[in-house]
Amino acid sequence: MEYAVAVNDLTVAYHKKPVLWDIDLEIPSGVLMAIVGPNGAGKSTLIKTMLNMIKPVTGETRFWGEVYEKQRKNIGYVPQRGSVDWDFPTNVLDVVTMGTYGELGWFKRPGKKEKEIAIRALEKVDMLPFADRQISQLSGGQQQRVFLARALVQNADIYFMDEPFQGVDAKTERAIISLLRELRSIGKTVVVVHHDLQTVEEYFDWVTLLNKVIIASGPVEKVFNEENLMKAYKSKVDKLFS
């Protein structure tokens, strides 16, 4: 099996307290993978460390055998919706166009070509009528679609998404999942930090259970079982009562 991502011996600490411990993880190409685990399990930290935003204490992440910098342009990212200020003075089209900045490189301004790419991405997420809309006037679901469109613009081979289903309406949730499936069907790899255990089996084909350490990782039908879930969520319960 070809691996899109291989994480090796990764340990991350905040203020000397480990938040991720000795992570070894391989993500095959072309899967739609969920990272699940209780609050504070380090799910977001894991993808941020993989994407070089957080420096690990030890360990490394390889994308198709190469370091992050070499593969950066093949990697798309959707941050948590709440990580930005939606009152920023800009409109929908402008935010989506930001997906082209990485390809443009330093100093170059986006032109007609970049605008067109952004418009096509907006079409894909059903947000074209909102292109000129102020981002402060969007609902939660619409904000999420804008972020997805921006990631589509990156035209990456692997996408990392931090809680894309958080606080969106049912319609948007369905739209997102069908988009993710479409990405998978054209050979992209999608890694999603996910909260809702109910939908894991329906939405994903690969899953990683995380609670500071990797509890299990593999095909959903093999590893998404009660035993592993207990392991992932139990330590939290224990701590509450200790």
Binding site: Y77, S83, V84, M98, Y101, F107
Partner: protein, 374 residues
């Protein structure tokens, strides 16, 4: 002194031009500070510049403005550097670290200034002018330096336009797009420090932060576009520089720097109130309108619920409507007034003192309910 004197009085012209340049450049750079929620950075840097001025004087023994401002630059920059070290290696929050540096550096600055004043025979007079600024001491040379600095800031902001925008809106995405957050942050912070240091002579360490924050806050009220915000902010800054200079020169004993700050603060306060869309007055009006619509829809919803529970053609008297659904009870006369309003909108009709919901009313309420689900 009249307006015409601005163009004939050489000193006044120099001061006005210098203040305008200062207002314009701090307006540009302040936009980013405000959007990144780092308004306090300006406050910390400007206060932290004071010990640098004192130390530069002690080392060089001269009041040569270039040396003093170099000292201000170094100590202002150093304060931000220390803030970053503190938040990286401790659990102290960003604003606490800034506040701490502000008072530590400013206190140190006051100590050094007091010490200098006690040195016999030293040519120290005037250093305390940096506390509140001494715009009248601006020379042509200073204005030339200010234009160069201002020009450089504008060129850098134009060159790094999309990078700064991305950094301000979404630093994480900026990082993964291949623009290192730390580097851009360093450039932007350095520009803020430069703008502040340039303004110390005019406005002084205590009030300089207002020149960074106020124009941007005012500009944000009037536009939803970053480019317009940057331009407006610099116009507001520049304008208050000129107006402040004119006012202070037309009256005896009005210090220029503080007057400029009062003008720009007035512009922001007015903007906070009257700007369309974001202004407080506008928002109040919109809330009132929304509340009115909500009141109507509650009543409409009541009739709708009663009608759908019944067979759909029933009419209801005022008494029926006032006692139904206990959550929102209106006094009978308010209810009647609202119903009459609804009737003029064709949402309900009245026959024999009984109220019926119309087709249009049903559509309206179903739309409204749909909107709530979104």
């Amino acid at each position: 002194m009249s307006l015409i004197n601005i163009f004939s009085d050489y000193t006044l012209r120099t001061v006005a031009l210098g203040s305008a340049l200062l207002g314009a450049m701090s307006g540009v750079i302040g936009t980013y500070a405000v959007l990144r929620k780092q308004s306090l950075v300006g406050d910390a840097v400007s206060h932290a510049a004071l010990p640098g001025i004192g130390i530069a004087f002690l080392l060089t023994g001269s009041k040569n403005i270039e040396w003093l401002l170099l000292g201000a630059f170094i100590s202002g920059w150093l304060s931000i550097y220390i803030v970053n070290i503190i938040i990286k290696h401790s659990r102290v929050k960003y604003d606490s670290a800034l506040g701490m540096m502000l008072s530590v550096f400013f206190g140190l600055g006051l100590v050094i200034l007091t010490y200098i004043q006690k040195i016999p025979d030293s040519n120290q007079a005037g250093l305390e002018g940096f506390l509140f600024g001494q715009a009248s001491t601006l020379l042509k040379r200073d204005v030339i330096v200010m234009s160069i600095v201002g020009g450089a800031i504008i060129i850098i902001v134009a060159l790094l336009w999309k990078e700064f925008k991305l950094l301000s809106f979404d630093p994480e995405f900026c990082q993964v797009s291949g623009f290192p957050k730390e580097k851009l942050d360093l450039i932007l912070t350095t520009l803020i420090v430069i703008a502040i240091v340039t303004g110390l002579q005019t406005v002084g360490v205590v009030l300089m932060s207002a020149m960074i924050i106020a124009p941007a806050v005012a500009a944000r009220q009037w536009t939803d576009k970053l480019s317009v915000m940057v331009i407006l902010s610099s116009v507001f800054g520049g304008l208050s520089g000129v107006i402040g200079t004119i006012i202070s020169s037309s009256t005896r004993n009005l210090p220029t720097g503080p007057v400029i700050v009062v003008i720009i603060s007035a512009i922001s306060i007015i903007s906070l109130f009257i700007a369309p869309g974001r202004g407080i007055i506008w928002r109040r009006m919109r809330d009132k309108k929304n509340k009115k619509r909500l009141n109507r829809n509650i009543i409409l919803n009541n009739i709708y619920n009663l009608s759908t529970e019944g067979n759909g053609t029933q009419g209801y008297s005022l008494e029926d409507l006032s006692i139904s659904k206990g959550d929102f009870n209106f006094p009978i006369n308010t209810l009647e007034k609202e119903l009459e309003n609804l009737e003029t909108l064709d949402l309900v009709k009245v026959k024999d003192k009984k109220w019926y919901i119309t087709e249009k009313g049903i559509n309206e309420i179903e739309d409204f309910r749909g909107g709530l689900g979104e």
